[in-house]
Symmetry: C2
Subunit: 326 residues, 2 copies
């Protein structure tokens, strides 16, 4: 198992610079007041493909040798990584295959195809995805770019926290006290841990996880990785289960998991929509839900919050926002 380092994050930043956006950082007086802290929202929903995932995929694609690149790339993804890899492959002009569960939201599937990738639908669940991915890999010779265990993907995701820490002033009188990101497979969380450890060692890193099937929480509690759970959450971006290198990095860097249930996430998403006018997806709202739930732990602190993506399935909104029957 190859673990990436902060040097890989720095290399990733240089590699993706011609292709990825340096996303803006937003503030909200109202949300600051509600949490009782100073929140700096890193807007990865404004990243290309509408999610941070483009950073890791782009880094992985451009880190390939010309010979490897010529074989094309393949991955499995419940959505954002698929679109990200498809666009990253397009920037390098190489073939891309994406295996996606057939319950992936329509807008994410459409994005993958719009970027010119070949789509392979499979049954939901990690086992089915991995099996199908191996098939495609063997049939096409394409290089696997795993959505969250690939070291180049982890390093690429770390550039979001690197930008945020630098933006907020790592060498200033007062660097960020904490960073919080959502966790599914752990690519963003482990990359964030690498960046924080290097740039602001005193900055604690938190990961917000849907309470249903919270395998990252359980894994870190138990000290060994629990795999095989299949979280049934509205956070469609967080249905992966923690990867092995991700587990090691989160554990090494003392990342703490805060769990939130879907109702808390929906309430936080409504707040983000109403107060910042930013259309973030449910996965992104887990972080605000966690901050609101644990206000006492963050009181008065400067906190970096990564809004991970904005690929909302508008057709699912009626269910998401339906009121309880009277």
């Amino acid at each position: 198992m190859t673990l990436p380092t902060y040097a890989d994050v720095l290399a990733a930043a240089a590699r993706i610079a011609p292709h990825a956006h340096v996303t803006p950082v937003l503030r909200s007086r109202t949300l600051d007041a509600m949490v009782g802290a100073e929140l700096h929202f890193k807007c990865e929903h404004l990243q290309r493909i509408g999610a941070f995932k483009f950073r890791g995929a782009c880094n992985a694609v451009w880190a390939l040798s010309d010979v490897e690149a010529a074989r094309g790339v393949v991955t499995h993804s419940s959505g954002n990584h698929g679109g990200a890899l498809a666009l990253a492959a397009k920037t390098r002009g190489i073939a891309c295959h994406v295996v996606a569960p057939d319950n992936t939201i329509a807008s994410k599937l459409a994005a993958i195809e719009a970027y010119g990738a070949t789509l392979h639908l499979c049954a939901p669940g990690l086992a089915a995805r991995e099996a199908r991915c191996t098939e495609v890999q063997h049939a096409t010779g394409a290089v696997l770019v795993h959505p969250y265990t690939d070291p180049m993907v982890i390093a690429g995701q770390g550039t979001a926290a690197m930008e945020l820490l630098n933006h907020c002033g790592t060498h200033a009188y007062h660097p960020l006290d904490a960073l919080i990101v959502p966790v599914g497979g752990g690519g963003l969380a482990s990359g964030t841990a690498l960046a924080a450890a290097a740039l602001a060692p005193a900055c604690r890193v938190f990961a917000a996880e849907p309470a249903v099937g919270a395998d990252t929480f359980a894994s870190l509690q138990r000290g060994e990785r629990i795999s095989g759970s299949q979280p049934d959450t509205i956070c469609d971006g967080l249905r992966g289960t923690l990867g092995a290198p991700n587990f090691t990095l989160l554990r090494t860097h003392g990342v703490e998991v805060l769990t939130v249930d879907d109702a808390e996430t929906i309430a936080a998403m409504r707040l983000l929509w109403t107060r910042t006018k930013q259309l973030v997806e449910p996965s992104s709202a887990t972080v605000l839900a966690a901050l609101l739930k644990h206000r006492e732990r963050f009181a008065g602190q400067r906190i970096g919050v990564i809004l991970s993506g904005g690929n909302v399935d508008l057709d699912a909104l009626p269910q998401l926002f339906a009121k309880e029957p009277a």
Copy 2:
């Protein structure tokens, strides 16, 4: 009838500078490609209170003498102007009364009260609103700040287009070819016409109007103001009818109205949400709907587009996004 001039827009810009945001200008490759033009989106949904209305209200409040201000202010509004005046009054520490129809969306009413204003609900329709407003005015001595006919309000709204024109380069090799804004009572449209005439005389100004009860379109066609219509549109910010000074300014400056139906507006709103991740309200989407409907007229042009507000009623989304029954 006192008509504001561009000098009033300039004075407004100076007056509101300590209180209002200079909002960002966004671009979208996808939307540019869909319209076949270069679109510069002025993000007034990121203005304070989530709408351009704060500009006009703030200008009107701070243009009062100390003696006038001490009496407080009163207005009637279907929503955004009420919140705007409430916050503007709060910035000056004076009393504010807002008359609002009882079908105003809940989030807008809540905002008005949150800023410390006194809310007076009335029946929907301009006549009921004006009658109630006069009552409150007599009872309290407060100064009326009309939502769109007040010259200081019009001048304040003009600062959005002024900023956008300056941002895009009025003296550059190629200023904006066109500006497009939504029209209800005409405050934003007439202020925009003043700014465009002064800063970029060749820049045409368009106003997008809901086709149902399109009184501005009819008024400009006929050459006289038609009042008294009560538009039944999903664009809750555009239910006012064209004011007298607004009519004169739109007519003088040759503003052209493009009508769009609600289905086109909803489709355009979905596009804006999906492509820019910005939560704009239906009124704001009329402008993109009009551009898409009249692509041939805007081909290859540089166009300034004012996204007027982002105060979406999330509880109404299930109806707004409900699919047609099969």
